[in-house]
């Protein structure tokens, strides 16, 4: 590609402005971790909103949490954890000098799990949509479904669902970006860029993928589980 790029065994290029592969590797790694710090702060703003409103409206949180599909959420959690495993195995394969085919195999499995997550998520969204649980002016319409479910708490429940959609929506957006990058990574893998001596690109993509999973690992209990099992205030059922 670039005439200044040094040829390095294994096919990964040393960019012109780095002295050696080690510097390039460390830069990529530090950059990726710094980027994830940024992402933590990005989601952090939403977690803050969640904490504040949960404390303000515990009853609404409990009621609204019951409306989420724990089964679908739980399956999705399992799917994502599996995808993290296959992602790690893809990196492990490169690390131990495994060839292109096993690398791509693991990546393809990861891709499959990631897509499955999004498909399940779509069904979940569809269900919410059919039940009129889409936050917006209609949510608090006194004759609507939400008003019937939440009664007096309907306005506060709407905030729960707003946060639910923003948080899971942003997470899903990150998944979609990840799937897009997956194709790129598979292409690089096919070209044999990732070898035991250098698999930077694959490793960085793996970090991103694990990060997105971890966000979900926080979202799932906070949204689906905590409220449903809150005991404060005495028996609601």
């Amino acid at each position: 590609m670039s005439d200044q790029a040094h040829a390095v065994p294994g096919g990964v290029r040393l960019a012109h402005h780095f002295d050696d592969l080690e510097q390039q590797h460390e830069s990529a790694q530090l950059g990726m971790w710094a980027f994830m710090l940024t992402e933590i702060m990005f989601f952090g703003g939403l977690f803050l909103c969640y904490i504040v409103y949960r404390n303000l409206y515990p009853e609404a949180w409990q009621l609204a949490s019951h409306q989420l599909n724990v089964l679908m959420g739980g399956v999705n959690t399992a799917v994502l954890i599996c995808s993290s495993l296959t992602m790690a195995l893809a990196i492990r394969t490169a690390q131990t000098g495994g060839g292109r085919i096993p690398q791509i195999g693991w990546l393809a499995l990861t891709l499959l799990f990631g897509t499955a997550f999004l498909v399940i998520k779509t069904f979940e969204y569809k269900e919410k949509f059919e039940h009129g649980l889409i936050p917006g002016p209609s949510f608090i319409d006194p004759s609507g479904h939400a008003a019937a479910v939440f009664g007096a708490e309907v306005r506060h429940a709407r905030i729960f669902f707003s946060l639910y959609f923003i948080m899971t929506g942003l997470h899903a957006f990150h998944m979609i970006v990840g799937i897009g990058m997956m194709f790129w990574t598979m292409r690089c893998s096919w070209k044999g860029y990732y070898t035991a001596s250098n698999y930077d690109g694959l490793e960085m993509f793996g970090l991103y993928w694990h990060f997105v999973d971890i966000v979900w690992i926080f979202l799932f209990p906070l949204l689906y589980l905590l409220g449903a099992h809150a005991t404060g205030g005495g028996g609601h059922h």
Binding site: L56, Y57, P58, E59, G151, A152, E153, R155, H156, G232, G233, G234
Partner: protein, 315 residues
């Protein structure tokens, strides 16, 4: 006032001179520091100006004692500033007992004010001199800010909640009320006047503006008109939580926590009754959110505040 150049607004409340003293103290300290640095810079610029014949530049690495001194000394001085400011601020946010209760509702772009005795005014407020006045503020739309420069007093007026502030006017006259939080097109025209009057003049003004109900009397009517008394009655079998003597006390809630029954709690319980349900009661009260205006809620709160606990034997 004319066109003469003033450096200070009028000194018309008990806070005014206190704030001005802090201001002058800070001005003095900062002027000394700033002048010191500027004089040093100018002196060094001249004394050590570049001169081709003079070649002895002395490299000085730094000096630990100096660094510590010019870190710690400013910090100590600043802590005095902090302490004084915080002390005054604590007074500013703690209305004295017996202050007259006025209610303020801001909306784009006017101030609606109500006296403890029920008179209502728009963009004007008559208050007696030398008498602490407590304002409870809320907004019908966006965030406003109630600012009287001559009193050195300011508080945001936030929709959905109550804020409070207080002042004691010390000088007869009329003073500008301004909106200090940008609130839309006519932000700069959302102005009013506080008229500070002698007690005699104030009484006369009040008597000339009869016919208005007091806030709590209006609240009582609302209370009965909305059949609140069906449930909130002073009887052991009442389905609604007891309101007699509740204001200012700690109330135990269903979830085991307690909450101070202040204005904000009463407001919340009227509009969103289910948010904090009193222990021993079911969340069955309808929501009045959107059913009552902010002024009506203020009147209901004023009424509940007048309900005193009755001695047990009268039951």
């Amino acid at each position: 006032m004319g066109n003469q150049l003033n450096l200070f607004p009028e000194n018309a409340s008990t806070f005014a001179s206190q704030v001005d003293y802090i201001y002058l103290y800070l001005l003095l300290v900062c002027a000394v520091f700033a002048l010191g640095v500027v004089v040093a810079i100018v002196y060094f610029s001249i004394k050590y100006r570049r001169n081709p014949t003079h070649t002895a530049i002395q490299q000085v690495e730094g000096n630990m004692m100096l660094e510590i001194t010019w870190s710690v000394v400013p910090l100590l001085i600043m802590l005095t500033m902090f302490g004084w400011g915080a002390w005054l601020y604590m007074r500013m946010v703690t209305p004295p007992k017996g202050a007259l209760d006025y209610y303020v509702v801001g909306k784009q772009w006017m101030w609606k004010l109500q006296h403890p005795t029920g008179q209502r005014e728009i963009n004007e407020l008559h208050v007696p001199i030398n008498q602490p006045v407590r304002l409870t503020l809320t907004s019908e739309d966006v965030i406003h800010d109630f600012f009287v420069p001559d009193f050195r007093m300011k508080r945001d007026v936030v929709p959905g909640r109550y804020t409070e502030c207080w002042f004691e006017a010390t000088k007869i006259g009329s003073y500008r009320i301004e909106c200090a939080q940008y609130c839309g097109t006519k932000h700069s025209q959302m102005i009013g006047l506080v008229h500070v009057m002698s007690q005699a003049d104030y009484d006369k003004w009040l008597s000339g503006n009869l016919g208005a109900e007091t806030a709590d009397a209006a609240g009582k009517k609302l209370f009965e008109g909305n059949r609140c008394d069906t449930c909130h009655k002073d009887a052991p079998d009442a389905r609604g939580a007891p309101l007699w003597g509740v204001y200012g006390t700690q109330v135990a809630l269903r979830d085991g926590s307690t909450v101070l029954a202040d204005d904000d709690y009463l407001r919340e319980s009227i509009l969103h009754s289910t948010a904090k349900v009193v222990a021993g009661f079911e969340p069955i009260m309808p929501l009045y959110d959107g059913q009552l205006t902010e002024e009506q809620v203020l009147q209901l709160v004023a009424y509940i505040k007048t309900l005193k606990a009755k001695p047990k034997e009268t039951q």
